[in-house]
Amino acid sequence: MNDNEFEPNIIAFCCHYCAYAAADLAGSLRLEYPTAVKVVELPCTGKLDVLYVLRAFENGADGVLVAG
């Protein structure tokens, strides 16, 4: 990757039952995704609170992905 290229920090809030399981499966399959994507497991995306999103941004995230 070009040093000057902007690589956004993404926090991915993933549901335990689907998106997080998919990320697990991706790992088992040795599929790669950018290291700038940080996965946070939630018991359900219904647990997501606006505060989690705000805190992610406050702590330097460029984007938040909610997957569930």
Partner: protein, 227 residues
Amino acid sequence: MIIAEQKPLAEVKALVADAQKVLVVGCGTCVTVCFAGGAREAAIMAASLRMATQLDGNGKEVAEVVVQRQCEWEYLDEIAQQVGEVDVVLSLGCGIGVQAMVEHFSNAWVVPGLNTSFLGLPTEQGVWAERCAACGDCILGLTGGICPIARCSKSLLNGPCGGSENGHCEINAEVPCAWQLIYDRLSSLGKLDRLLEIQPPKNWRTARDGGPRKIVRPDLRLPAEEE
């Protein structure tokens, strides 16, 4: 309970513009259950202010705390130190909470983050409606438990006005006519005769019209406080 709404962020930012250190104080009672100023809302407000002021190029230090009841001085003692360390206190309590803090912390600059709206109840998820006008002379016993002071747009005492249409108020077709509600309820209870008595003009001296109100209960006062 007291129903309140948060002020727009732009207005809140203007209220705290001169300060560098801000303490957002939530309240754990009425405004928690109407989702305007509880722990969650205080945390969101603090985060929003931190980010918004940082984006404006003047990031402020914003902390948040919640007290069980902002409207009682005893509960405010626990935040005295934090209040003393900031330039401005942003209260997410009702107007009573703001004033309780002002009276308790004489040197603190306290500003409101909420607009205190009315006394009411949640009628369905996410909907609150006014039920009491705190007139100081309750007539619910005459009207089947439905308040024409708070719920009739004109606060009429002897039946509906000509603007009652199909059970709704002329000011807004979504507002039920309080007198229609009263009539229907008394009718279903077989107590329509209660409406035959003509109510004289209401004495509004017990309401706000009589000036600021105060209740003194000698039976509850401590001996040293008696005059």
